[in-house]
Structure formats: C-alpha cells, structure tokens
C-alpha cells in the first residue's frame, strides 16, 4: 500500500514548521512499515509530548499520545498485554533522554520487542528551544544564553550500556537509511533503538545562527560517516552512522511464557 495510505490526510498540512525534520522521519518510518507490509490494525504507535510526539496524530494506526517522557512505559503496558502487536515508539530527544531517561534505559534492559525511534533535534522544540541532554556543550538555547555547559549523552552508548539488543543511528539527510534501519529495528526480536538526527530550524537553527534548513542538512551530510569507516579514523569528530548493536537475546514477553508455565504447573501440581 502506498506510504500515503498510512497517513491521516485530513490533518495535513501538518503542524510542523517549514523544514522541520520530523516530517522526514515520518516518511522514512512509513516507508519501512510499508516495505514490511504491516497491517494498520497490527501497529500501535505510542508517543510522549513534544513536536516529534505529534507524529502519532498523522498515522492511521492505533495511536497513543501519552505524557512527556512516559511513552515507553505506556508502550510496555501495551506490548506486554498484547505481544502480537507491533509497537513503535517515536520520541523526541528530550522526551526520550531527559524526563524519559529512566523508562528508556529500563526498556533497553528488559528487551521487550518494541522499537524506539529517537527523533533527535538536540533541542526542546515544542516548548520553544531549551537545550536537551543531547544538545552538547557550546550550543545556544533559550536556557543556555551563554551557550550550554552540559555534556550530552551518546544515545548509542546509553542504549548499549543499558543492555539494548539493537541500536542504530542515522540522519534525516540519509533518508534511505532511515527507512532501512527502522525496518531492521522492527524486524529485530527484542528492544530496538534507532536514533535519527533531525533538524529544528525554528529553534536550534535560529539560536545557533544556522542560515537555513539546508545548512542543517548539509551538516548531517558532511559531519557523519558510516560506522567503522576510514573517514572516522582520519577525523574523530565525525559522527558515525550505522547499526551499532545487533544481538540476539531472549525476548521479555517470550520469557514470561515460562513464568506462566511454571505458575500453571504450581496450580495443577
């Protein structure tokens, strides 16, 4: 089914600003779902609060727009209750790693079969441009008028350190990778994380004196490189793209079947 059949057309043009990267993520995500041939009724999309989280309003699945930072906790309830559903959780960088950091690391730890997509624009877009745990030092933001001193998380490392079994990263510039990694993430049996560098021209761009959205996409093009590439060795400042973690580990809902079995025996026995 064409990608556009997955969207709720009546809400278009969407709420996002001109040039906002979140729309590109939406496209890539739907491309992945389309290629996987998922039925609309089998997909539940769960989000928190933020510009990025508004994404669920635009897709014609079961959609759950929850609380800031809590999407993965809601999603855990959905998935653990109905493991046969495909649960996809698009999140903002603030949503995923600031207020939602704890749910993020615990989802990584538990290895429930869901896909978290971190739409990382390195800023709180929805609330008007405060720095996020992914902004990094030196970035200007409304709450960092003298530039930020906060170190940033590396989501890949955070997810890895928390035990995630699939972790990938790319940028909206690399839109085919977006589709590809999300597809692989959904196919992965276990918890998967895809970080997608995205742009907020309205706040991140303006505050940091970036000329326009194209300058932001050029940045993604010029400052990233496939993981393990020679380029990275030559220039350690490059950000790596690719699949960083991909391991098989028994999935949580599957493991719970063992609990049910043990418990049922106890009752009978």
């Amino acid at each position: 089914m064409p990608v556009k059949d997955y969207i709720r057309k009546r809400f278009f043009p969407h709420i996002w600003c001109p040039g906002c990267g979140h729309g590109i993520v939406l496209g890539g995500m739907l491309g992945a779902i389309e290629e996987l041939g998922l039925k609309k009724k089998d997909v539940v999309m769960v989000s928190g609060i933020g510009c990025s989280s508004r994404i669920v309003g635009y897709v014609d699945f079961h959609t759950l727009h929850t609380l800031h930072g809590r999407a993965l906790a809601f999603a855990t309830g959905v998935k653990f209750s109905r493991p046969e559903l495909n649960v996809i959780v698009p999140m903002g960088d603030g949503d995923a790693t600031a207020i939602g950091g704890n749910h993020f690391i615990h989802a990584c730890r538990r290895n429930i079969n869901m896909t978290a997509i971190v739409m990382n624009n390195r800023i709180y877009g929805m609330t008007g441009g405060q720095f996020s745990p992914l902004s990094g030092p030196g970035i200007y933001a409304t709450t960092a008028p003298y530039s930020s001193i906060d170190y940033d998380f590396d989501i890949v490392e955070l997810a890895r350190g928390s035990g995630a079994t699939f972790v990938a990263r790319t940028t909206v510039y690399h839109v085919n990778e977006v589709k590809d990694y999300i597809k692989k993430a959904i196919q992965h049996k276990g918890f998967s994380v895809v970080e997608i560098l995205s742009q907020c021209p309205t706040y991140f761009g303006r505050k940091n004196k970036l000329k326009d959205v194209n300058e932001m996409l050029e940045y993604f093009k010029n400052n990233t490189t496939p993981v393990g590439s020679q380029a990275k060795k030559d220039n350690p400042n490059l950000i790596e793209r690719g699949i960083f973690v991909q391991i098989q580990k028994e999935e949580y809902c599957d493991k719970y079947l063992n609990v049910i079995e043990a418990a049922s025996k106890e009752v009978k026995g």
């Binding site: 699945f61 929850t66 959905v78 209750s81 615990h106 009752v267």
Partner: protein, 382 residues
Amino acid sequence: MKEKIKFVQGNEACVEGALYAGCNFFAGYPITPSTEIAELLAARLPQSGGKFIQMEDEIASMCAIIGASLTGSKTMTATSGPGFSLKQEAIGYAIMAEIPCVIANVQRGGPSTGTPTHVSQGDVMQARWGTHGDHAIVAMTASNIQDVFEITIEAFNIAETFRTPVILLFDEVVGHMREKLVIPEKEKLQVIERLRTSVPPGTDYHPYFPRKDGRLPMSDFGGEHRYNVTGLFHDMWGFPTDKPEIVHNLMRHLVDKIENDPKHICKTKQYFLEDAKTVLVSYGASARTALEIVNYSRMRDRKVGLLELQTIWPFPKEIVSKICNQAERVIVVEMNMGQVLELVRANVKNPEKVYLCNRYDGNLVNIDDVKNVLRVVEGRGI
C-alpha cells in the same frame, strides 16, 4: 470455582477481589504497606495466564496499566503515599483519556516518607485533588476483609462502567490485618465486563462520543477500529483540539459522568441509624473502632449509630446530609486531621454540631479516644 473460605490480610482480599473481577494485568513498584498486593499477584496472575510486571517506578507502573487497559486488559496497580503522589500525573491522564483501571493506595503516615509502617487516612483529599486541573474521581474504601474483597470488585465494575480510574483508599490496618474471607463461587457477585463497540469495521467509530446512557463503548487497541488517544483535550475521535466548546463539553462530561448520578456509585453501611441521636461517621479501619463503640453504647441504651462510608469520592453528600441533619450531634472518626470532617461539615445544616475524633500519630483511633469524645459531646463530662 466453588466458594472458598480463607483467612487473609486485607491486601490479599484485595488481590482475591481483583482476580474475581477479572483483573489480568498488574504493573507495580513495591512500597510499604501495599507491597503484598504486588507480591501475591506476582504469584497468582500467571497461574491463569495473566500478566505481572514490576516496573522501574510508580510512574511507569501507572502508565503501563493504562497502556495495557487500552488493549483490553483489566488492569490494576497498588501503592502507598509517596508512590501515590508520583502517580498523580498519569492518573490525570487516565481521567482525561477515560481509561478504566484501578489504583489501590494502602495509606500510611505522611506527609513525605512519614511513618511507612504505621496507619493513616491522610490521603482522602489527595485522592480527589492530587492531579492538576478540574476533574472528578471515584475513591472507595472498606473496613473489613470481606468488604475489601467486595469493594475491589466494585472498583473494577465502576472503572469499566464509567471508563474511569478508580482509587481504592485502604489503610495500613485493614491492609495488614487478617480476618475471614469468603470467596463466593464465580458469578455469584456481579462482574461488569468492558462495553465494547458494536460499530462494524470500516464504519466511523467515535471512541469519545458518549451513547445516550452516557457510556462510551471501547474498541481494543489491535482491533478493527483505529483511533487516537491523548491527554490533550480532544474531539470525539480522540484528536487534539482547543476549541472552547469542545474543551468545555469534555470537562463537563468528565465530571458529570461521575458526579451527576452518584447513587450508582455511592455505597455506605448503616448501623443503628434509625433512632440515633449521636451519629458517628467513619470509614476504613477507624470505622471498626467506631462500630465497637456503637455496640458498647447500645448495650448501655445510648442512641449511637454509625454511618460507614465506603465511597469517599464522589462524596455521598445526600446520604450524609440526610442522616446527619436528623441527628443531634455527629462525630467524625478518622485518622487524619479532619479531612472527612470538613466534608461532612460542608454538607450539614449545623456544622457546629459536627465533632472530630481523630488520631494522626500512626496509631489506630482507639476505643478510649472515641469514648472520651462521645462523653464530652454528649455532655457527660470527661
């Protein structure tokens, strides 16, 4: 399943009630004095294919039961004071998105960490007002083990009927004391199942458009109908809006469905009220002390009666004012600084005739406490 007689804690009776009502999903985080609910469900739920998950905190637990409820599960969490405070934001979400679920708060001494292993009824007002913004809520309680069982079933029934979170406001004494519990055979007690939409697939389904009787049939996530659920004000399809009329009407709906017809929700127990000159109003563990005193007084031919509240919210105004206005004096017996006292006072003609017998030092209101207040207000000296 045949009738069963057990000797159990209040927390276990709550578990039995939940299972009787069909609860098949629990998410929680341990906290004294509610932990036994989680522990028992961890053992019991998987025995019949239900799901138990220990989450990373109380917030996540609350969110998880909302998510699970949307897929069609009957869900519950349990906590106490500090955890109840943490859940408030997500409770508000369940109110706004009209998701049935049950939250047990086994009350302990507060504020803050307070006295974790001691009893209190200090969360009465928080149950009503703990989350931000206008809203309505259902909160119920019980004073003995059998009632805990039955009220828990009732909580699930109300949650399903009204698509609302329901709070079980137990207390440490009732949660931890053991007493006889008779579990009736299946179907003896009414269990209300979720009302699911009859709108056929492919037809426009309105998850947030109440039927004539005020109920909103649900469609499970994963089913044929796809719709949106949000904590923003929303239209009948569940999509965000800030149109003033829609906001206004949704607010009215959320409050009216609970408060307009409290008869269906409000439960009380009444002891010796017909001719009572002194009415004790109480609930939870304190109602046990109160009842002891009623019996004691009646043996001495003193016309004392007890109105035991089982529904705290919506506050049973009509019953309270009817009964209290008939009495010469009212004594509210509770374990806080007078939270229900104020509610009773606000609903009677002569607030100055409503007295307080309370304790907020971590101990159950005792017999002498009530005797003394009774003696004083009846003018028999102390």
